[in-house]
Subunit: 214 residues, 2 copies
């Protein structure tokens, strides 16, 4: 049975980015600390064309996330910093010519744009008909494989509140950001009910996995 | 080396009590769910005069917390619901004649009151000279043993922001409360820096332990 799932790094105080996000601090002040554990991994570096790196208890967690899915949904802010209409459409995402998705990616936007086919199986399709429609198209594209909600936080919130998420993983980093973009907020009333699936301790991070109950 | 430490149950969205706390919901709406894992333990039930209960991966965690300390600090709201002057001083805490502390307990209050000596080694001393003074007295009473900051959330925040805490444990319960009393808030700028010490997966809870760096 295919799942809709997401995995995201959060600070211990619940933020996916630090305060004062902007050009100077794309991840907010201190937000880089959320990703140090993954950037240090050989498994992540290899997938992003970088050499070296560590193998530790996070390695199987990251490898598992990279398999078993057939489509991705992401918010426009995760795709890029362009706001409003797409203009000359020169922005092709943050990831270069061979993005690490290798599957259809559906980008939520209010502004139509032609699909963008990049290398390695990644196609960005721009969906203007809303989050539920984007998820529906992703489910179709994924077939019997999972759909990954890639982010950012507000896109994840939207799908969590709508009851669309089956499995979620928070990679809790031992840092307090004191402010920023809070992940688990605006989740509806009552909020979704959870079942703890696993907790995996690794260097500089603990991965908490939950199933969202129906 | 003696530590100042605290341990508290939190929802995955970071609350130590649910929304709309009051007489009808002393732990806030849904807040009881934060304590189910501990109330089910034989180790906890025995310490509170109750029979039966489970033994599981939380047992050594709870047993370890119950040893090695020599004094306790708590906020007035944790001691009881009385507000303003103590009046006839008939309120003797929530815990009956044999509270589970077995050590000197220093209660933060603005209103003087004579010390209260109960059974099993628990003495409540009411401190009107502020949080730092209460901690100083607790350190003296504890000698080479730890000082436990028992709660509630605002008392813990105060000591965390002041840089007084050495070790903290969050028992993360797989529940979303959607609102209530947030623990990791108002921690100063910059907030304290942490080092991950351990993550212990147990039925219905994951215990995350951190050292606060100086």
């Amino acid at each position: 049975m295919a799942n809709v799932r997401f995995s995201i790094a959060v600070s211990l105080d619940g933020f996916t980015a630090g305060p004062n996000q902007g050009e100077e601090h794309p991840l907010g002040e201190g937000g880089e600390a959320l990703h140090e554990w993954i950037i240090s991994l050989e498994a992540w570096r290899g997938a992003h064309g970088l050499e070296g790196g560590e193998v530790n208890a996070s390695t199987p967690v990251v490898e598992e996330l990279a398999t078993g899915y057939g489509a991705v949904v992401m918010g426009r802010n995760m795709f890029g910093p362009v706001r409003g209409p797409w203009g000359d459409s020169s922005w092709r995402g943050w990831w270069g010519d061979d993005p690490p998705f290798h599957h259809p990616v559906f980008v939520l936007t209010h502004h139509p744009r032609e699909p963008l086919e990049l290398g390695g199986g990644t196609t960005f399709t721009f969906v203007t008909e809303g989050a539920e429609h984007a998820l529906e198209r992703a489910r179709e594209a994924a077939g019997d494989r999972d759909v990954v909600i890639a982010g950012g936080a507000s896109t994840i919130q939207q799908y969590l509140a709508a009851g669309d998420v089956d499995v979620m993983q928070l990679s809790v980093v031992p840092v307090l950001l004191g402010g920023g973009v809070r992940l688990l907020d605006r989740l509806g009333d009552p909020p979704p009910r959870l079942e703890q699936v696993a907790a995996i301790e690794a260097p500089g991070v603990t991965h908490l996995r939950y199933r969202v109950l129906r």
